[in-house]
């Protein structure tokens, strides 16, 4: 096949994978923005969400029922985490908070496997994980339907969140909190409720990510590792920027695929594990605050 067309294909596939990464990274950003917590448990939440959804369907709940139940469950989980893990730790050092969320990871993983067992399950969203026929026929590009679906969903999700943040009252409150906790409190914004809300939203985002990833590669423990894919996206995008992670996700996805295909063979391949991180470092050396992250001005 033509060199350039192949390049194009790698690029597109990469961009689409990037969307999947961004989807996971989104959960991190929401929570970090609102409560300054780097929630490492996001990966475990993705796993838990997808597993629960499939679990409910196995118990006989139809799709339209399993979805709201799981949404509710995730919201509940989010609220619970805020109430019982983070509120007692408020004003602690960021490392302590990070560590707490890693401890949380163990809890959620254990919980998921305790409740739903360790069997690998498949999740069928009714979308084939196969190339779009007409695209393949006309352009020779093989782009999986589910990837495109995922891209659309991610787009919709981000758009909705953006709308919620900019238009609604809650959104404004949220942004106020993100800017300055103390100030937000002083103008009478119920900080705790906002945090709980954000955690709930993050839980739902985790569900969406989990369903899409689950539909791609099965609902199973390996889903917790998607968090590792999200981290470089986060540093490049900046912990606090929603558009940042989307763009960064695309960058990471494309770069890592191109690198694997074109650089990989030279060094024996398998460089996807670390390439995004090195990319992120190089990026940071140029822009320490990330793509869209606020510039940190340190006064004396």
């Amino acid at each position: 096949m033509a060199g350039f067309q192949f390049f194009l294909e790698v690029l597109v596939t990469g961009l689409l994978s990037g969307v999947m990464y961004a989807l996971v990274a989104l959960g991190f950003v929401l929570i970090y923005k609102a409560s300054g917590v780097f929630n490492f448990a996001q990966g475990a939440m993705v796993f838990f969400a997808a597993l629960s959804f499939v679990g409910f369907m196995e118990l006989g709940a139809p799709f339209w029922l399993a979805l709201p139940i799981t949404v509710g469950l995730m919201a509940l989980l989010g609220v619970g985490i805020e109430r019982f893990v983070l509120r007692p730790l408020v004003n602690q050092h960021e490392i302590t908070l990070l560590m707490a969320t890693i401890g949380l990871t163990f809890v959620i993983e254990g919980l998921a496997q305790l409740v739903w067992g360790v069997e690998v399950r498949r999740l069928d969203l009714g979308i084939k994980d196969q190339p779009l026929p007409w695209l393949a026929d006309n352009t020779g590009l093989f782009i999986s339907q589910i990837d495109i679906f995922a891209a659309v969903v991610a787009g919709v999700l981000v758009a909705t969140l953006a709308l919620v943040f900019s238009r609604t009252k809650i959104g404004r409150a949220l942004r106020a909190v993100a800017d300055d906790h103390a100030a937000a409190l002083s103008i009478g914004i119920p900080l705790k409720r906002i945090w709980a809300l954000v955690w709930a939203i993050a839980g739902v985002v985790a569900l969406v990510a989990g369903m899409l990833w689950g539909a791609r590669s099965g609902v199973q423990f390996a889903l917790v590792f998607v968090a590792l894919k999200a981290l470089p996206v986060l540093i490049i995008g900046g912990f606090t920027s929603v558009p940042g992670v989307i763009v960064a996700g695309l960058i990471v996805g494309a770069a890592e695929k191109l690198a694997e295909v074109y650089i990989g063979p030279m060094v024996g391949g398998g460089i996807e594990s670390w390439f995004p991180y090195v990319l992120a470092i190089l990026f940071l050396l140029v822009r320490p605050e990330g793509l869209f992250g606020e510039k940190i001005i340190r006064r004396v």
Binding site: V118, V120, F142, S144, R216, G218, Q220, A222, P265, E272
Partner: protein, 448 residues
């Protein structure tokens, strides 16, 4: 297991563990009568738990079966203790040490079903007189019993498997001579496990004149877009999928579907050939081949009997009985068979009929493993295991695989008989590699 003196001298540091030890004592007390003790280092949580629960469940079910069916081996009860390793080297070593003694009982066989753990204890088994079995994983050169008296790569090593898979592919292509100019992609987890078969593949590529494309996948392998684009670009004729973990394997199949690569041209290693590995891929997995050291299914009399006797009495180990007869569980049962056979042989050789064996006797018993067709029939596992025998020099034995194919619901054997590897070539490579190891470790191989 826990030493009182130490718990005193270190109370401040780990009093907690000492407490646990104390609570453990009653559990040990019940070890009386004639019992052969086994340690079971299982992993029931984490990314590989699906395999762990199946495999170790199978072992336990078989030991249970032997006890219930015939009251143990000549009256010697099979007893065991379990320990969670999380497929982690450090945890595994701790389990090994913890399981080593149970009251006054000694562990004589250790089967972690995890390469990192097997390596973690490799240097300890000689002193502790523990038979380390690597059922379808670990060092291929452990097949040389002269250098590795206590380590067994029974019954087929990675190298043999790779050779067997290629033998089968060549027959599909219509003979070795037809392999010239073919392109075979080795899609493998980018780890020691994934690279282990490379020496065999490279050598055969040279001898047969096919082109080997080595394509590593970074762990955990749930992203393989780039790799499959390369496979498509290279126009590979066959893909050997050398992955581990349901995540990587199902992703491989899905990714193949994404580029319309025929699943009938994919052969998975046996860690890519269980129900758990293909189920997540759904219909995409139809027609996918895999090598198997043990086929799946309930058609074997023994399996049916275990279901009747053990699960009938509600003593089964699988939380979900539907998993009876699937790949990992069947493999576990056969591992249990190796153990029990070893005990029988040991009792016979040491003529300690109806008595406990020590480490050396267990090792001799395992080395005397001899599954004749007649014996397989007796056990009710014809076609479940190949007929093979071990010896002082040969710790591998069979070196054969069955090729199975997924029809969307279950695995079917497409090769009624076992596909053999190039035993002579593999043996050469084994002895060469083992000799190198012996030299590096200053081991003088024993005479056989």
């Amino acid at each position: 297991m826990f030493d009182d003196g130490i718990s005193r001298s270190l109370r401040g540091l780990v009093a907690a563990v000492a407490v646990a030890a104390a609570t453990l004592v009653p559990a040990l007390a019940q070890a009386q009568g004639k019992e052969q003790y086994f340690g079971i280092p299982s992993y029931r949580v984490g990314p590989f738990a699906a395999g762990g629960t199946g495999f170790f469940g199978g072992i336990i079910d078989y030991l249970q079966y032997v006890n219930m069916k015939e009251g143990g081996v000549n009256g010697v009860q099979m007893v065991w203790a379990e320990c969670e390793t999380e497929y982690n080297a450090a945890r595994g070593v701790e389990c090994y040490q913890r399981l080593l003694k149970k009251g006054d009982l000694q562990m004589h066989i250790f089967e972690p079903l995890a390469t990192p753990i097997a390596y973690g204890v490799l240097n300890r088994v000689d002193d502790d007189k523990v038979v380390l079995t690597q059922y379808g994983y670990g060092r291929s050169d452990a097949a040389d019993g002269r250098v590795f008296p206590w380590v067994f790569s029974t019954m087929t090593s990675y190298w043999s498997q790779a050779s067997a898979i290629l033998n089968w592919i060549s027959t599909k292509e219509g003979g070795v001579d037809k392999m010239k100019g073919k392109k075979i992609a080795h899609l493998h987890l980018d780890s020691a496990f994934g690279r282990e078969p490379l020496p065999v593949l490279r050598r055969l590529a040279k001898d047969w004149g096919f082109e080997l494309i080595e394509i590593p996948v970074a762990a955990p392998g749930i992203e393989q877009q780039a790799q499959w684009l390369r496979i498509r670009q290279e126009r590979a004729d066959w893909v050997i999928s050398w992955g581990f973990g349901a995540g990587m394997n199902s992703t491989a199949i899905n990714s193949a579907a994404r580029i319309n690569f025929p699943r009938e041209k994919m052969v998975g290693v046996w860690w890519a050939g269980s129900e758990e590995d293909v189920l997540p891929a759904g219909d995409a997995a139809k027609g996918y081949f895999a090598a198997a050291n043990v086929p799946s299914g309930k058609q074997f009399p023994l399996v049916q009997d275990i279901e009747k006797v053990v699960y009938g009495a509600g003593k089964g180990n699988l939380s979900d009985p539907k998993r009876i007869g699937n790949i990992y569980w069947n493999r576990g049962v056969t591992a249990g068979i190796f153990w029990v056979e070893a005990v029988r042989n040991g009792q016979r050789i040491a003529n300690k009929r109806g008595q406990m064996l020590n480490g050396d006797e267990m090792r001799l018993g395992f080395e005397a493993l001899n599954l004749t067709p007649a014996r397989l029939k007796e056990l009710g596992i014809e076609g479940m295991l190949p007929s093979f025998k071990l010896s002082c020099a040969d710790h591998e034995g069979a070196g054969v695989v069955k090729i199975i194919q997924w029809d969307g619901a279950k695995w079917n054997s497409v090769t009624p008989d076992w596909v053999s590897s190039d035993r002579k070539m593999i043996r050469e490579m084994v002895e060469e590699s083992a000799a190198k190891y012996a030299a590096e470790q200053k081991i003088t191989p024993r005479k056989c």
